[in-house]
């Protein structure tokens, strides 16, 4: 922030001091109090030393940062650019390596059930990030209610499968269609809105969907949610210890010993496939008229209209497409959990998905993967930090935004060149 201003010793010290004060003010409520559970009753204890430490750490950090700037800038500030450029050159290679790694991950010696489970979680967010990337990154429509479509997908699958007994693979496309329908439903009223206003309305939409799910007792089961959602099968082969009447389980069919891991790994591959499908779709559609129209709309809506592009259909198609992938991801989420409730679809989910897109670098597919690993993967690892997890998370966000204000990877390569259709 002070990159252009020349910094003096005095300025650096004052700045660090102010930073320390702010940290102390923030730390007082966050770290300063503690509930003491004595034998008789709860009482409040103080931890003022912690507050002092927090203030000191921020003071020292801020001072160090300022001094670094004084002596000619952060040493490796351009690492990100280099990374971006490198990724640009070897993008193909890197993507294939990532896909290869993701494919063999469950079979690597160090991977266990919990790792595959976490990876599945990360992949759900990668897929959601890629879906939202269509709306935010490509079409430039700031959507803060994306979780609504995720919820619609999840509830569609849960309701269809529990009511009609349809299988996951039949319900999946239907859930995607329903979510896309909701995407259009949201799109209509917000056609004229952009930027902040659009963000607020979509935020409201997300909350409305959640509140409806919570209160429409007869259909959605209200706060209790829906349980007993059928698990997916591999062409009709269930992942169970014992087969239902006249059937065969996955383990029996392949002559394996039953293990709970099979289902975990199977689910992992399902979401990997769905996510890659999303990615493939996005990469392709970016090179097609619709995809280019999305990007053009992001750049300048008025110019679009002057060229005969109809902003209504372009926006609706972006909302619908993004929502469809969220719907797929939602169905998967429902079948994985076996139980869903409105709890899972709160605003914080939308915020995390949006953070993944922004942090990854708007429009960057690989960036989304990195950001999802960072935002969903790392916090899973650092569960030991307990209640300070979110604090660490926030700190990491601040650092990244300092380091790469436009996202981790933010280079864009043209979708067409004169050489040919490539």
């Amino acid at each position: 922030m002070a990159a252009t201003r020349s910094i003096t010793w005095r300025g650096a010290l004052t700045d660090a001091f102010v930073g320390g004060l702010v940290a102390a003010a923030l730390a007082l409520p966050m770290l300063g109090f503690r509930l003491v559970d004595s034998a008789l009753a709860l009482s409040v204890g103080f931890r003022l030393d912690w507050v002092l430490w927090a203030a000191l750490v921020v003071f020292a950090g801020r001072l160090a940062l300022n001094l670094l700037r004084m002596t000619g800038g952060l040493p490796d500030l351009r690492l990100g650019e280099r990374l971006s450029a490198r990724m640009g050159n070897t993008r193909h290679w890197a993507s294939w390596a990532m896909i290869g790694f993701a494919t063999v991950l469950p079979f690597l010696p160090f991977s266990d059930r919990s790792l595959v489970d976490k990876a599945t979680m990360v992949l759900i967010y990668v897929m959601l990030g890629w879906g939202l990337n269509i709306v935010v990154g490509l079409a430039g429509l700031l959507d803060l209610g994306f979780v609504a479509f995720y919820a619609v997908g999840a509830y569609s699958y849960a309701l269809l499968s529990t009511t009609f007994g349809w299988s996951f693979w039949v319900c999946l496309p239907l859930a995607g269609l329903f979510a896309a329908g909701f995407g259009v439903a949201l799109g209509f009223p917000v056609l004229r809105l952009r930027g902040d206003y659009l963000a607020i309305v979509t935020l409201g939409f997300g909350e409305i969907i959640r509140v409806i799910l919570q209160n429409w007792q007869d259909l959605t089961g209200g706060p209790a949610g829906i349980s007993g959602i059928p698990r997916p099968t591999l062409f009709g082969l269930p992942f169970l210890a014992r087969a239902p009447e006249g059937g065969q389980t996955f383990a029996e069919f392949f002559g394996l010993k039953f293990s709970g891991d099979h289902r975990v790994i199977f689910l992992y591959f399902v979401i990997l496939m769905l996510a890659l499908l999303t990615n493939l779709f996005t990469l392709r559609i970016r090179r097609l008229p619709v995809g280019r129209a999305w990007e053009a709309l992001r750049e300048d809506e008025i110019a679009c209209r002057s060229l005969g592009l109809n902003p209504t259909t372009i926006k609706l198609s972006a909302f619908a497409t993004g929502a469809m992938f969220a719907g797929f991801a939602g169905s998967f989420f429902a079948t994985r959990q076996g139980f869903i409730s409105p709890e899972s679809f709160t605003f914080i989910e939308s915020a995390v998905i949006l953070a993944i897109v922004v942090l990854g670098g708007m429009g960057s597919q690989v960036g989304v993967v990195l950001a999802a690993l960072l935002l969903v993967g790392l916090p899973e690892w650092f569960r030991e930090l307990q209640q300070y997890r979110m604090l660490a998370f926030g700190g990491a966000m601040v650092l990244i935004m300092l380091w790469r204000p436009s996202g981790l990877l933010s280079s864009r390569s043209p979708t067409i060149s004169l050489g040919g259709g490539k």
Partner: protein
């Protein structure tokens, strides 16, 4: 203009009000095919507002605007802005350049051909499935883009980000992009603004080329009198939203009313003495 065939664009009694301000006031004029019609006037005369009415960004409160295609007239005031571009085939550029800045130069020109590509690709489905039909349409679009890139001298910059081009190139790219929509009428809002004399001269060549080779009508807002006098076939002069003169460039520049309203300094020198005295007394 022959009696049998109506002019390309007929503007009749168009009035555009913003509150109490008459930005365009009961304006009538017409623009012919294969001609450059210049619209000039002092700052705030209502030129851009007129363009916004013709291209559908504003809906005038009063008036009729007819664009005569070979197969009959299209009434512009009834169409949405994007339909004016796609159905009536009126293309425009903007006073403050509006490119798709973070897309490549070539992509800008391909987006301009959205209509054709969309039809050919069945709303992108054919493209998604990689059908040959789409590839053919894309090839055609690329050919047209290449043609216009060549025309405006940006062939070597096809893959550059549009926003990174120098100002003069951005102006030319905007014209190329408008031409890629295959218009019958091209409206240019101050295309020479900010260009150096050499670029401005090249622009004249480009515009007369478009008129002579492509046989379309051009509507040109311009402050640079060397451009207006050099290339336009007909000049319409606005002041406070009203038309104060309409004539050939030679006669317009000698029109006392025009000189009074439009005090172009460089024109002063070659005014006839009696007009110069007129102007002196007025100011």
């Amino acid at each position: 203009m022959t009696a049998t065939r109506p002019p390309l664009l007929e503007v009749e009694h168009v009035t555009m009000r913003f509150g109490g301000l008459f930005a365009v006031n009961d304006l009538s004029f017409s623009a012919a095919r294969k001609q450059i019609t210049a619209v000039i006037g002092p700052n705030g005369a209502g030129k851009t507002t007129l363009f916004n009415c013709i291209t559908g960004f504003y809906k005038p409160q009063v008036g009729r605007m007819a664009l005569h295609h070979d197969d009959g007239p299209v009434l512009l005031e009834r169409l949405d802005d994007h339909r004016i571009a796609s159905r009536a085939r009126v293309a425009r550029t903007f006073q403050n350049i509006r490119l798709f800045a973070r897309m490549s130069v070539l992509e800008n020109l391909i987006v301009a051909q959205h209509q054709d590509l969309m039809k050919a690709s069945a709303f992108s489905l054919a493209g998604l499935l990689g059908l040959a039909r789409y590839h053919k349409a894309e090839k055609k679009a690329l050919e047209r883009a290449r043609y216009w890139l060549d025309k405006v001298g940006l062939l070597d910059h096809a893959d550059d980000e549009a926003g990174s081009l120098p100002y003069g190139s951005q102006r030319r790219l905007e014209i190329a992009r408008a031409m890629c929509t295959d218009p019958v009428l091209l409206c240019l809002d101050e295309p020479a603004a900010g260009l150096n004399p050499r670029e401005s001269h090249e622009l004249n060549g480009l515009l007369t080329g478009i008129r002579d080779e492509h046989g379309i009508g051009l509507l040109l807002i311009e402050h640079d009198m060397s451009v207006v006098m050099g290339i336009s076939d007909w000049v319409v002069v606005l002041d406070y939203g009203r038309k104060i003169a309409e004539d050939t460039p030679e006669r317009v520049r000698r029109d006392p009313a025009v000189i009074r309203a439009y005090l172009g300094e460089e024109e002063n020198e070659d005014l006839p003495p009696e007009v110069a005295r007129d102007v002196e007394e007025d100011s």
